[in-house]
Each structure stands twice: as structure tokens, then as C-alpha cells.
Symmetry: C2
DNA sequence: GTCTATATTTGGATAGAC
DNA sequence: GTCTATCCAAATATAGAC
């Protein structure tokens, strides 16, 4: 018998280092902000010199792209765990609680994925597809609840991002706005129900 | 008769140039974004070289500070023009329409004043005082409508900033979210009224 | 007050030795 | 794959002549 036929240790090591780099990048952007990420700092954290990073990523934006993709996959994974009860209001609350928790728990990630504040960065098509998949899941979830018209969905996303932004901007690390989620969803649900009924009456 | 006794032409000219510079700065940040403002570009627009700006402002942040103050004064002026009818819902709608219009009509100004995205910039105490005055006016307006508890105010600001952010981020220059203001305020008002009544019943 | 020239810093990115 | 050395670009800010 000869040696084990090329169980690519090299590729595995390479992948592991890539993940080390991305982990360090998250650490840095969480403490210094997204805009402050520099390749020198990043390399230093993982014990390399800046040019060595180019063996793993083509550019700084390629690193942002990989981070965006990680964020998208995390969203899909966690979103799948949100359980449906069949009761519209309960499910609406749970869905919104999840979204806001996902966003506020990592402001740097939120900034990267949902606000577009890095000059010159756009996710690659492959990465963007992950984000689109996330939006589709959200739309499907709301459709199951009975919400399909654009106007209602827009109002809902405004409430969700409003709570998220206020929480991140004005009370980071606490819950002054996030604790309003359930109340906000009750308010919204009452309104949406009434509007739908009224519309149906008008149409029939 | 001698010459007119020192009607400080020098000081007036200086002030005029300062305003020219600030006008040019607004122009640049509106078209290129707040973060992209450079002193070279700015100087070029007003027909100067970069170092000459230091005759008018101590630093780049001093320019941002002056812009912030201008924004604050504009807010106070325009806010004073919003008329009160005495009808709570009508006034609530008008107040929120004003706020959202003020913010969305100039995203760069909104970014400067309400989001804190410029690394290293904080408004000076004098400038910040203008912003505080604006917040006080807002609080007074809502108190006249009958809204005083923090929770209700927080929910309201979340809705306002949510509509603003979504409009700016996802449909700039149009009205996909801003047109929802009246509906959102009806929803909110119905909820706030109900909550208050319920609370009063519980208390009495 | 405005200019030229320059200091200083800080990035991203590349070349080529090892 | 990693390094040293370097390039290149952009930006704020200062010094000193005029």
C-alpha cells in the first residue's frame, strides 16, 4: 500500500486559515467599526504581515464579501429555527423578534448587510443571491400570516428597521426599543386586520 | 466729512466667504456622500487651494460642525412653521410629515445630524445645544397632543426613523415609504389612545 | 489671505527573494 | 506562503514666501 491518496491537507489548512482571518475581521469590526478595518491590523491579529493576506483573498472587498456571505448564511440558518404556531399574531411577533434580535445583536454585521455604508463595496452576485434567498423566506413567512400587499409589508419593514436603528444608535447593548416589539406588532396587526377587512368590504 | 467710520467690510467679506465654503460643502456631500468630502475638492469648488481654507476654519471637523449648526438652525426655523390645529391626530400627522420631509429631503444632512457615521467628529457644545433645543420642541409638541410617557414616544420615534431610513436607503428621491406617514400615524394614534384609556381604567 | 512646497500619516496593493 | 521592501494614492495639516 502506498500513502493515502491525496487527502488534501493543503486545501484544508488553507480553508482553516481563511476562516481564522474572517474571525479576526469580525472581531476587529465589532470593536473598531466597519470603516476602520485595515489589512495591516487584520494581518497583525492573525500573526501575519499584510501582503500575506493576498494569498487568501484577492482584495479587501473580497474579505467584506466573504463576511457578507457568512452573515447571509447565519441569517438563513437562524431564520429556519423560528417556529410557526399557525396563529398569525404569535408568528408575526416571533418573526419580528427574530429579525430585530439578529440585527441588534451584531451592529457591525447589520451595517455591512443592511445599510450600505462602505464606499466601493458591493456584494458579488453569488453572495447577493444568499441575501435574496433571505428576503424570499421573509416574504413567504408573511404570506403564510396573510400579509401580501406591498403597502402593508413596507409599513412593517419600516417598523422593524426603525426599532432596530433606534436601538443600535441610541441605546446599544440594552433594550429600550427592542422591548417594544410585541406591542408594536399588536398595534400593527390590529391595523392590518382592520385595513384588510375594510378593503374587502369596499371590493365586494 | 471723513470716510464712513469703519463699517467693517473685512469682517463682512470674511463671513460671506465662510458661507460660500459651507454652501460648496453641502453641494459636495449631497452629490458624493458625507464621507467623501475632501478639503482639496472643497477648495477647488470655491476657487481656492486647500490650505487657504484654514484661514476660515480651524479644521475639517470645524467645517462639519458649522454644517451641523446650519442644519440645526434650519430645523428650528422650519419646525416653527408647522401649524397646530388643536386636533391631536391632525397635528400628529403634520408634525411627523414635517420631520420625515426634513430628513428625507437631504439625506446627507440626515446622516450628519442623526446618524453618527463620521469617525472622529462630534458637534461642539454650542452646536449640540441647538440640537437639544430641537428635541425639546419635539417633546413639547407631543406633550400638547397628550403624549408624554417615554414608551409611547419611543415607539413613535421608531416609526418615524424607520420610514425615513427605508425611504432613504431603498427608494431615494421617491415616496414609497413617505406616503405611508398618514396611515402610520392613524395606526399609532389608535393604539396610543387605546393604551391610554386602558391604563386610566386600570389606575382609577 | 493666498499661494507653493512639504510634512505626515495611512491606506491598499505589488514585486521578488526565500 | 510568507516575508521585506516598495509603490502609489489620497488625505489633513503646517511653514513660510509673497
Amino acid at each position: 500500500m502506498l500513502d493515502i491518496p491525496n487527502r488534501d491537507r493543503r486545501t484544508e489548512r488553507r480553508k482553516a486559515t481563511r476562516e481564522e482571518i474572517l474571525d479576526a475581521a469580525w472581531e476587529l469590526v465589532r470593536s473598531n467599526g466597519l470603516a476602520a478595518l485595515s489589512l495591516r491590523d487584520l494581518a497583525h491579529v492573525v500573526g501575519l504581515k499584510a501582503p500575506s493576506l493576498y494569498s487568501y483573498f484577492d482584495s479587501k472587498n473580497a474579505i467584506f464579501d466573504a463576511m457578507f456571505a457568512q452573515g447571509g448564511r447565519a441569517y438563513l440558518e437562524q431564520e429556519a429555527l423560528v417556529e410557526s404556531t399557525g396563529d398569525p399574531l404569535t408568528d408575526l411577533k416571533a418573526g419580528m423578534r427574530f429579525f430585530i434580535e439578529f440585527c441588534t445583536s451584531d451592529p457591525a454585521r447589520y451595517q455591512l448587510m443592511f445599510q450600505r455604508t462602505i464606499p466601493g463595496f458591493e456584494p458579488s452576485p453569488a453572495t447577493f443571491a444568499i441575501a435574496i434567498e433571505g428576503l424570499d423566506r421573509l416574504r413567504a413567512r408573511l404570506a403564510r400570516i396573510g400579509l401580501t400587499d406591498q403597502r402593508s409589508l413596507d409599513l412593517l419593514t419600516a417598523i422593524g428597521t426603525g426599532i432596530t436603528d433606534q436601538q443600535i444608535s441610541n441605546d446599544p447593548g440594552s433594550d429600550r426599543w427592542t422591548r417594544l416589539v410585541d406591542e408594536a406588532m399588536e398595534m400593527y396587526f390590529a391595523h392590518a386586520s382592520e385595513t384588510t377587512i375594510r378593503t374587502n368590504r369596499g371590493t365586494t
